[in-house]
Structure formats: structure tokens, C-alpha cells
């Protein structure tokens, strides 16, 4: 993802109050690589300021598609001074291309794991094989995590697969399902209700609290390729993960340069 020159690059960030304990700094109202690049730029500038001690380290910075929310303790930090500081940083933090890790994550697209794949194919005048090629041939970018611990929202889904959410959400989406809605792809770390269309399932846990340094597999700015695996490979990998005999680093395709 590269930062292109467009209106959102130069528009002034907006500061919005989220109660007395958080500020949201907003860079646009759309889901685009350009707006997200400004969020990533701001996140990097905040992290740098926290590292060098010019910004309070107790602040919790939470990036989203087009904005970033900063949580603070109003009993110890002055809301107005913080607001001024955040706007000053946002004013010249610029854009940053997604520069996280690149992952090749195994996904089994068998119909058992992909109950919506054929409907998506039929609705879009594609064969299931063409859908599979689009899913595995696309470089996705992690825009943000939310909804559930470790739940990534991935941008980059080709327009040919743009489908609305299910009219009636499922009561149970199995854990580790890979799903799509609109121009976004996601992965459910936990069993949950959900309205996205299920396209496959990964045997790899997307969230592990025992990995305290990095409990979520993916982070904002990471890039992801889904790699098709068959049912046997899925079962073997799932068993390895259950035994604790799997290191997520095996899925790294190499660190990208910033």
C-alpha cells in the first residue's frame, strides 16, 4: 500500500470527544488506503513520542480504519493540553505505508469450512475456482483489530467479490473462519454470532493470550496472503497447534521494509 496524493492527505484532522477519558482523531470518513496511511502515520508518531518521553506513556492508542482513539486517565492528565498535543502531532505525522509483517496463512476452502463460497460465486457469475483464485491471489492489508480480541479487518478484497452481509446473521460462526463483507475480509478468532460470508477456515489460532508479547497474530499494517491447503494438511496443522507445537513465525513471508 503506497500513499497517493489525494484530498484526504491534506485535509485537517478532526478532534472528537469520546467522553472525558478519550479523544478520537479523525482523518477522513472513508475506508481507503490513503486515509488509513494517515492513521498509520499518526500511530507511528504517537509511538515515537511515547518512546522518547514527550508523550505520556500511559496513553492507550487504538487505530481504526479512518481514525485513532487515544484513551487517557482524566484524573491525572489534562484533557485540553492533551487535545492540543494530539492535534499538533496529527498535523505533521503525514502518511505511512503499511509496513508490518507479511504473512502466508493456510486456509482450507473445502465446502465444509466455506458454506457461502458457492453462493458468492453464483451471485458474482464466477466459478468457485475463480473465487478461490481471487481469495488466494490478493494481498490483504490489516486495517484494524476490533469486535473481538484479535479480530482483523483486512482491506483489499477485489470488487468482484463485493457482497453485502447476510440478511440474517448466523447465530454461530465457527472459530478461525475466514469471511468477507463489502470490500473487507476478516477472520473470526473465536466462535461468535456473525453476518459475514464464510469462505474458508484456518487451522492457526488468531489469538493466544499465552503469547503475551504479541497475543494477536496480526497487527494493523500487516499484509496477509491466504494460502490454500487441503483437508489433510488442515487437520495436521490443527493438531500441531492444539499440541502447542506450532510457531506462528513459520507463516512469516519476510519482514517488509518501511
Amino acid at each position: 500500500m503506497t500513499a497517493h496524493s489525494c484530498h484526504s492527505i491534506h485535509s485537517r484532522p478532526r478532534l472528537l470527544p469520546l467522553g472525558d477519558s478519550a479523544w478520537t482523531v479523525e482523518f477522513g470518513d472513508d475506508i481507503t488506503p490513503e486515509t488509513h496511511a494517515r492513521v498509520l502515520g499518526f500511530a507511528a508518531a504517537l509511538a515515537a513520542a511515547q518512546r522518547d518521553g514527550t508523550l505520556d506513556r500511559s496513553l492507550e492508542c487504538v487505530p481504526a480504519f479512518r481514525s485513532l482513539t487515544v484513551h487517557f486517565d482524566p484524573a491525572t492528565l489534562d484533557h485540553a493540553a492533551l487535545a492540543e498535543r494530539l492535534l499538533a502531532i496529527a498535523g505533521d505525522s503525514g502518511s505511512r505505508r503499511a509496513s508490518g509483517a507479511t504473512w502466508r496463512i493456510p486456509v482450507c476452502f473445502d465446502s465444509e469450512f466455506a458454506p457461502d463460497l458457492e453462493v458468492v460465486a453464483a451471485s458474482k457469475w464466477l466459478t468457485p475456482e475463480e473465487v478461490l483464485r481471487l481469495m488466494t491471489g490478493t494481498e490483504f492489508t490489516v486495517y484494524m483489530l476490533g469486535f473481538l480480541p484479535g479480530f482483523p479487518y483486512l482491506g483489499g478484497l477485489p470488487e468482484a467479490l463485493d457482497m453485502p452481509r447476510l440478511a440474517t446473521p448466523r447465530k454461530v460462526v465457527p472459530a478461525r473462519s475466514i469471511a468477507i463483507a463489502g470490500r473487507t475480509c476478516a477472520a473470526y478468532p473465536w466462535q461468535s454470532p456473525g453476518g459475514w460470508r464464510l469462505m474458508g477456515r484456518t487451522p492457526v489460532p488468531l489469538f493466544d493470550p499465552a503469547r503475551s508479547e504479541r497475543p494477536a497474530l496480526l497487527a494493523p499494517g500487516d499484509r496477509v496472503f491466504w494460502q490454500a491447503i487441503d483437508r489433510d494438511t488442515y487437520a495436521a496443522l490443527e493438531a500441531r497447534c492444539a499440541r502447542g507445537d506450532f510457531d506462528p513465525a513459520e507463516l512469516l513471508a519476510g519482514e517488509a521494509t518501511a
Partner: protein, 351 residues
């Protein structure tokens, strides 16, 4: 030195909660923690614990707890009473906002919570393992607490052995005083997604708490809030406990401690931190009104809450439970007999 409490009966949706799981919201992990941090702090203060030490949050029916090894003390923080049953069958009533000491084999049956929620704190705090920096239970991802879920019969809660005089209990005659009046909010972040009439209704009309109520949030019922031309959906952005989302049907949803970290509905306003704890006590059918305040007023409200809590903590007194010799009285008034407690050996008369 450690002690162990066995859960004899789990109660209804009783969970371990502390000050919350900070620092992981960027990867989608909710804050969680006590619905009412000030009340948790008050319960902990009865035991000399840190304000946000992990305790049991009791929304309805209380648990029955038994000291298995080591002597432990519990505090009842809220409108709830307990019955202490000694290992030899003695029975002692434990009123609200009192501590009670459990010797190995003793059991405390904690009743139903009469109003709001209650906290049952344990001397030294409940010492289940920290997960991502917190002991708070978040059930959807099985984090914290006892295996990430509500208490169940047979669970064991590690805690510290009581350090101090086991015959000296603590109490406060009054429940902590809380602010009353409307729930105070700061408008936004998406108040521009609502018509002027909707904003007037939100701040002028009463809303009722519906049955859709859990630790993630509460749905309210009342005059529908009409969205402006900007509409009823936004590109998902950050949310926090206290944020008030309004979906297309116009009925507000107030987010609580276990709420997700982002959301796609416009937020008309956000409850200030000082009033967040009050939300946790509302039950279905309760009426709720909102008032808009400034950041400066919110900061003053937070200071006022901290001062009220400090005054309440200053009002905690020690006492000898019924049936226990008061040593000062014994030696001072030359009393010649007494019982430590119904289940303890009789203290021989001193001539």
C-alpha cells in the same frame, strides 16, 4: 502464605473482576473490569486491599464460599448479606459492608443482592493468574477469572492467608454515598448524526432500561432518536465503556465494561467516568435521564467521587464480632468469662 477458597455454590453470573485489562485495546481486547470501580474500591478498603484488587462481582444471587486451607477474611461490598456457618455448626449473620473471617472449614453463604450489584472482596485479593495484565473475567474470549468464565461449584480461588488479628473485623455503618440525579454525559463524538429534536429528546426525556442487559451493554427504551442526514451508520471507530450508540431504530445502547473496542453506530454522547459506576447498578425497568456536561465539570465530578470515597474509607471502624472476647474489656473490666466464638473452645473462667 497462600490460602484457598472453595466455591460451594457459584451464585448467578458471579465473575472475578479487577481494575480492568489496559493496554490491549489496539488488538481488540475489551477493557473489562468492575462495572463499578468505586464500589470495588470500597469493598477492598474494608480489608486494607489495594482499590482495584480482584474481587467477586455479584449481579444477582451470591455464591457460597468455604475456606479450605488458611484463614481468610471476606468483605461484603453492596446491598447483600451473608451467613457465616462455622465448621462446628455455629451461625453468624454478616450484614452489608461488614467483614467476616473464615477459619479453615468455615463457610459463608452470600444471599441475593437487594439493589444494584455487589462485590465480595477477599483479604489480599483473589489471586487467580493474571492474563494480559489483569484478572478480570472476559467470557467471550475466555480471558481471566477462573478459566475465563463465571464461578461454578467446585472452583478453587487462591488468595492470601489473613495477615493480622483474626478476631478484629471491620465495617462501615453506611453504604458509600453516590451522586444522584441524571447520568452525566459529554455529547459526541457523532452528535452531528442526530437532529436537533433528537438531541433535545435525549437530554429531556426519560429512558427505561430494557431486559437486554449484560456486562457488554444495556439497551434503553424511550422516544426514538432520529438521525440527521448523515445517517445511522458510520465507518467503525473507537468506542469505550459509557459510549451511547444509536442504531437505525433510534433506541440507545449504553456500552459497559465488556464492550468491544470499536463500533459502527453513531454515538450521540458518552457517559463521564464519574457516573460509569452508577450505570452498573441499573436493572431492567429502571428509569434513566441524561444531562450534558463539559469536560471541566466531568473532572470535578471525578474529584468529588474520589473525595466521597476517601471520606467513606475514613468512616470504617473495627469491631469484635458477637461472641468474641474483647480483650480490652476483659482486662479493663475484669470480666471473667467469654467465648471466642460458638465453634471455638470455651475460654476457662479466670479467677
Amino acid at each position: 502464605m497462600s490460602a484457598l477458597i472453595e466455591v460451594v455454590e457459584g451464585g448467578v453470573s458471579v465473575t472475578v473482576q479487577d481494575g480492568g485489562r489496559r493496554g490491549y485495546r489496539s488488538i481488540g481486547v475489551p477493557l473489562s473490569g468492575a462495572l463499578d470501580p468505586a464500589q470495588l474500591a470500597a469493598a477492598n478498603a474494608l480489608l486494607g486491599n489495594a482499590p482495584s484488587a480482584a474481587a467477586l462481582e455479584v449481579p444477582l444471587g451470591g455464591p457460597t464460599l468455604k475456606a479450605v486451607s488458611g484463614t481468610v477474611r471476606v468483605a461484603l461490598g453492596g446491598a447483600v448479606e451473608g451467613k457465616l456457618v462455622g465448621s462446628k455448626g455455629s451461625v453468624l449473620k454478616v450484614p452489608a459492608w461488614h467483614t467476616a473471617t473464615l477459619f479453615p472449614g468455615d463457610t459463608i453463604q452470600i444471599g441475593g443482592v437487594a439493589r444494584g450489584i455487589a462485590y465480595v472482596a477477599v483479604s489480599g485479593g483473589v489471586e487467580v493468574p493474571l492474563q494480559l495484565g489483569s484478572r478480570s473475567t472476559y467470557q467471550r474470549a475466555a480471558l481471566g477469572g477462573v478459566n475465563g468464565r463465571a464461578l461454578a461449584r467446585g472452583d478453587r480461588l487462591p488468595c492470601a492467608r489473613l495477615d493480622g488479628d483474626p478476631w478484629l473485623e471491620f465495617r462501615n455503618a453506611e453504604a458509600p454515598v453516590r451522586a444522584d440525579g441524571p447520568i452525566r454525559v459529554i455529547l459526541g463524538p457523532q452528535d452531528d448524526h442526530f437532529t436537533a429534536e433528537a438531541l433535545a429528546n435525549f437530554l429531556g426525556q426519560p429512558y427505561r432500561v430494557s431486559r437486554d442487559l449484560d456486562r457488554m451493554g444495556m439497551r434503553l427504551e424511550g422516544v426514538a432518536l432520529t438521525h440527521s442526514a448523515l445517517g445511522a451508520e458510520i465507518v467503525s471507530d473507537g468506542v469505550t465503556p459509557g459510549a451511547i450508540q444509536v442504531p437505525a431504530n433510534g433506541q440507545p445502547i449504553v456500552l459497559l465494561a465488556d464492550c468491544q473496542t470499536s463500533g459502527g453506530y453513531p454515538k450521540i454522547a458518552t457517559v463521564i467516568r464519574a457516573d460509569l459506576g452508577r450505570l452498573g447498578h441499573l436493572r431492567p425497568g429502571a428509569e434513566i435521564r441524561f444531562a450534558s456536561v463539559t469536560h471541566a465539570e466531568a473532572v470535578r465530578a471525578l474529584q468529588a467521587e474520589a473525595e466521597a470515597l476517601a471520606r467513606w474509607v475514613g468512616g470504617i471502624e473495627s469491631f469484635r464480632p458477637p461472641g468474641v472476647i474483647d480483650e480490652a474489656a476483659l482486662y479493663g473490666d475484669n470480666l471473667i468469662s467469654g467465648m471466642l466464638r460458638g465453634d471455638e473452645p470455651f475460654v476457662p473462667a479466670i479467677e
